[in-house]
């Protein structure tokens, strides 16, 4: 009987205090390939202005670089899980912003664009956080160009429970000539994301929209 009461009490407490289930985890994938390099500074500013202020104590943010082979630990440019105390969380945000500035200043240029590798790495980090809300924001032209010998096969539940936003998608010269190709590319990414478990895939054109999307 005592055991039953104890079990009920533990169950009640665990159901009440839902811990990290309400936390938000975001992965920002930043393309540093030649076709997108000119957007790097703007992207960092977008992360600083649009994503970092949105984070609350307990939330996590990871910034991953998209380059030749993105599925590497070294591609993680920075990460933070905010402290439960708002004052400390603010200090962490400041430090992270400084780290992002350093990343923006780096003049590295990738010859290939391994988007899926970065997405896989980001998905792993997101899963590890155990956060209730998981979001992946891709800052790229979404034109994948894998080096020879690199294979990227997404697991069926690769993006399970995640929302994927493609933001600041740069239109290439070929896209201007033929917008259908650009649209087909976006549709293909949407199909890839949703077929591998993503809750939604959205292309965000207006940076202000990101605020609303992260609020939901």
């Amino acid at each position: 009987m005592k055991k039953l009461i104890l079990a009920v009490a533990v169950a009640a407490l665990s159901s009440c205090s839902s811990g990290r289930n309400y936390a938000l985890a975001i992965v920002a994938l930043v393309d540093v390939s030649g076709t997108y390099l000119d957007q790097k500074e703007e992207v960092i500013n977008l992360i600083k202005k649009g994503i970092v202020p949105k984070l609350n104590p307990g939330d996590s943010l990871f910034v991953i670089r998209i380059d030749d082979e993105s599925y590497k630990k070294s591609n993680l440019e920075g990460s933070m899980t905010l402290d439960v105390r708002p004052s400390k969380a603010n200090a962490q945000k400041m430090a992270f912003a400084a780290k992002l500035d350093e990343f923006a200043k780096k003049r590295e240029r990738a010859r290939h664009t391994d988007i899926r590798g970065a997405m896989m790495l980001g998905a792993e980090y997101l899963k590890e956080t155990g956060a209730g809300s998981r979001t992946m924001v891709v800052f790229s032209d979404l034109e994948e160009d894998l080096p020879k010998g690199v294979k990227r096969t997404l697991a069926p539940d690769e993006f399970a429970g995640m929302r994927v936003f493609a933001m600041n998608v740069k239109k290439l010269n070929a896209d201007n000539a033929n917008p259908t190709a650009y649209r087909a590319r976006l549709a293909s990414w949407q199909q890839q994301a949703t077929s591998h478990g993503a809750k939604e895939f959205k292309v965000v054109i207006d940076p202000e929209k990101l605020d609303e999307l992260l609020d939901h």
Binding site: S17, N45, K48, P57, R85, P86, N90, A97
Partner: protein, 477 residues
Amino acid sequence: MERFYLWPEQPGASLFALWFFSQLIFWAGRVPMHRAFRSMGRVLFGGLRMAARWLKSISVSIAQRDREMVMEMARGDAEGKIAREFRRIENSFAKELNRYPKLHRKIDDLTSRLDSDYGECGSAPPAPPGWAEATAAVAKMPENGDGMVKKVLEEIHKSAQAGEKKALQEYRESTAKRHKILNGMASMWREVKALAGEAGKSVAAALDSTKRIDSYMATYEQTRKGDHKAVRAMGWQSTQLFVVSLIVLGVAIGGAFVNFNLIALPMSELVPSGSRIGGIPVSTVAAMVIVLMEIAAGIFLMEMLGITSFFPKMELLPLSRRRIILFVSLGGLLLLACIESSLAILREQIVESSSALKHSLAGISEKSVADPVFSRIPVVGQAVLGFILPWILAMVAVPLETLISTGGHIVLTVTAGTLAVLSIVMRVLAHGGRYLVEAVRHVYDIYIILPLQLERLATGGRGATPLREPANQQARR
């Protein structure tokens, strides 16, 4: 409709056939149909009437219960007021009677002193009897030229004048002395007058109390007798109190909301803000708990001060224990007020820090828009607000008690009123339904007017007589 056509290619003929058969069937089934209509009307009318009566009876019993409750409240109120007046009189009498021997002694002393002074005023030295007449007689004696006699007479005259002067002097001195004594008596009179006034005031206060008791007793008597006016007045008074309490409570809820917002943000510094309880952040729950704790402490404080009486058991506690609870709740409230005040300061710091962070992330260089001296105003204001609000919230206990005590009357009144209105609606529906069924019966007859008229002609003008209700059923209506 076309489904019912006997000959689909001939709609006119089909419709006529349908009409003809319906006339035939309706005419043949007229009597049972009328009975059915009547039964339906009776069921509808009876059912709705029954429901109306039931609602009315419940409404009356609720109104009666409300009346009893109001009477009980009025009785309790009058008893409380009378008891309070008696306590006042008791205290006043105890105080005044305690002072009375002293007052009496003082008045006695003063009157005896006044008496002796008055007596002293009356004692003046008597004038030498016959001396003036003797002097006058000597003065009137004729001069006979004798120098010796003349000298004697002059001497007598001189001594008479000196005596008169001395007597006058003594008289003046005696009068001055009496005036001095009378002057001294004036202060004593004033003292006596003040004492009499004081006694008069006490008596007037006692008389006022007795008048109030008389009026309370009259109300009490009226309530005990169940006087309609007294009960109605008490009911109205309860409604007024309810409305006032509701308004005050609404204001207090506004205060609680402000208070909650003041501490919700800084609470995230004290408790883990990432965790949630039922979807609500723990810090928000903690802030709510603090506000509720302030209200609870206020309730206990008011209870121990004797302003409210939520917990009758607490009234039975010994005074020493009541005092302990009073100090504990007072201390708790003070502590919570201090905590809130500090949290309010912390809030300002967090807001400033967040604002600075946002500016920094946005790449805006922050410029101070206000002088540092003046920028302290919000901090001080928030701290003061954080300290004062808990004390104001503690006062919620008073309107809360009034709201609860008068809420029963309001609920019962509203329920009784609603049920009475529903009862009327039911009655109207009952009559409406009855006449509606009757109208349908007549429409039925109008539809088969042709066969009815033919029947009438065939039966020699008697025709189909409308069905009559049995006499006993009509009487029952």
